[in-house]
């Protein structure tokens, strides 16, 4: 069943291109550090060197290898993205499903809460929380980001479920003696699966961008390296004015390439799953 659902995706050029780029970066993040075995935190006397055979992407002010940093950065940025997306997806699904299925007071309360979170400028709250924490691990950043990007998803899931629940095939399944659990697994989940998958991609995107924004203003993870922290260091050391392009260009390209291709993937999915947008 899911095979049939996702098959048409692979006919979309956009989807293939987007997916290839993302997969490339995922592989880079996973295997890069294993193949290019240079410690990204090790300081050497080769300071602010342009790319050379010893340092393929040059070094920063402390003589740390940029390529090694980049590979670790891609890894942790994707990690933040996935983790934040997972958190948002779980919260959004639970809130949305409960609202739709329970209705009544539960729905009213959950939706009021959702609306409050939705209208609160999330990046401000994230900044507030991050600035209170002296030590911020990568996971912590992911949790902070994940806690604030779910509301629109919860609302969308609720709306979709509400409409599905009044559809006749749901009645017919109920009349065939389906219990709640079976109904959810067979009829409800497939209907929201494509949408959830699409949102998941957007959430990853939000996670990566969010991490980069927090890092740029100095509120990123205090431990470990991410694409955001590389950019932050380069900005701090005035790399742009001083023309140390090898320091800030590669992480910039990586962020743009990953987030852009994630957006392409989600647009492609939208076109495939939403017949109204199909080009025919």
């Amino acid at each position: 069943m899911f095979k049939n659902m996702f098959k048409p995706l692979f006919k979309s050029k956009k989807f293939i291109i987007g997916l290839s780029i993302v997969l490339f970066f995922i592989l880079l993040g996973i295997f890069g550090p294993m193949i290019y075995r240079v410690d990204p935190t090790e300081m050497t006397w080769d300071m602010e060197q342009a790319p050379s055979s010893t340092h393929p992407l040059g070094t920063d002010t402390y003589g740390r290898d940029i390529l090694a940093q980049l590979l670790y950065g891609i890894r942790s940025s994707l990690y933040v993205g996935f983790l934040a997306a997972l958190i948002s997806l779980v919260i959004g699904t639970i809130v949305g499903t409960f609202s739709a299925v329970r209705r009544g007071i539960t729905d009213d309360l959950l939706m009021s809460f959702t609306n409050i979170v939705l209208t609160t400028p999330s990046i401000l709250i994230a900044i507030l929380i991050a600035s209170y924490l002296d030590v911020r691990s990568i996971e912590m950043i992911a949790v902070i980001l994940g806690l604030f990007q779910w509301p629109w998803f919860a609302r969308a899931i609720r709306a979709q479920l509400m409409s599905v629940l009044s559809r006749e095939y749901v009645y017919l399944s109920k009349m065939a003696g389906y219990g709640d659990f079976r109904l959810i697994v067979e009829d409800l989940i497939p209907t929201i699966a494509t949408y959830a998958f699409m949102s998941f991609v957007l959430f990853i995107n939000g996670g990566i961008m969010g991490e980069a924004s927090l890092s740029l203003i100095g509120l990123g993870p205090t431990e470990g390296i991410s694409l955001g922290t590389i950019l932050q260091w380069s900005v701090m050391m005035d790399a742009i004015r001083r023309g140390l392009w090898w320091w800030f260009v590669p992480p910039g390209i990586a962020i743009v390439a990953v987030t852009a291709s994630l957006l392409i993937i989600s647009t492609a999915m939208d076109e495939v799953f939403n017949p109204k947008l199909r080009e025919e």
Binding site: M1, N4, E168, Y171, S173, M175, G177, E186, P190, T191
Partner: protein
């Protein structure tokens, strides 16, 4: 003996959070349906006819009143799973929109496989498949054209026939047909109606049509109930209701429907 007895049935929906508002969808209706009888509940959208259908199908809980099917109060006397299964098998439905009656993620025969969950006897997969094929043939479909197809690959008329094939499998004693012909083309409408009538002839099924189409109700029913704003305003045999309506609303309704063999005088 009456197969279905509905007594003082009401449904009130309450909506809104802080300022709750009550909407009375069905107001204190009572009627009975006999064995093999075809009865039509006629009304416009918002008249409460669909809400009534859902209560009879045990899909939504009535606010007050009783629904007794085959001697059992469907909300109070059905306690075990076995009893519920029997009820679901015996009182079944065909819905209005053949497009919404099928989950787009599954092949269309899923709806027929579901029927086996309600049966007492266990069937092997092959036996079940044979039964499915038989019932498809009964409703005038070629199993080859249907099995393995997804809902978007077959026509509305075919979908509605599959729904009736599901009823052939279950052999219910009572079918609620909620606007079964309103979304399909006129030329295939007759076929659907005939299939339902055949079911009654061969199985003694009672059928309740839920419709806004007085023409359909007049043609198929033994009795017509006209609903307006949650109340039954007229109850009688089709000829009386159509040719000699009593209630003001029925008079207006009958007088507004364009006819084929006579011209409306006042337009």
């Amino acid at each position: 003996m009456s197969r279905l007895v509905v007594k003082n049935l009401s449904k009130v929906f309450s909506i809104g959070f802080l300022a709750r508002r009550n909407v009375e969808a069905v107001k204190n209706i009572s009627f009975e349906v006999k064995e093999k009888e075809i009865i039509s509940l006629v009304g416009e959208s918002g008249s409460g006819k669909s809400t009534t259908a859902k209560m009879l199908l045990r899909l939504i809980h009535p606010t007050s009143g009783k629904i007794v099917f085959e001697g059992k109060d469907i909300w109070n006397d059905i306690k075990t799973n076995q009893e519920l299964k029997e009820f679901r098998r015996n009182l079944h439905a065909v819905f209005q929109d053949p497009f919404a009656s099928f989950n787009p993620f599954y092949p269309v025969e899923r709806t027929m496989w579901q029927a086996f969950r309600l049966m007492d006897k266990e069937y092997s997969k092959n036996e079940a498949l044979e039964l499915i094929k038989d019932s498809l043939v009964k409703v005038g479909l070629d199993p080859k054209d249907i099995l393995g197809k997804y809902p978007h690959q077959i026509s509305g008329g075919q979908k509605q026939r599959i729904m009736i094939a599901r009823c052939w499998l279950l052999k219910p004693k009572f079918i609620i047909a909620d606007e079964p012909t309103s979304m399909i083309d006129a030329s295939s409408r007759g076929g659907i109606i005939k299939l339902l009538l055949k079911l009654r002839e061969e199985q003694g099924t009672s059928i309740m049509f839920i419709t806004h189409d007085l023409g359909l109700a007049y043609y198929v029913s033994d009795r017509i109930l006209v609903m307006k704003e949650g109340r039954i305003v007229e109850d009688g045999n089709p000829d009386d209701v159509v040719l000699n309506p009593q209630h003001e609303y029925t008079k207006i309704l009958v007088g507004s429907i364009p006819k084929l063999y006579r011209k409306l005088e006042d337009i």
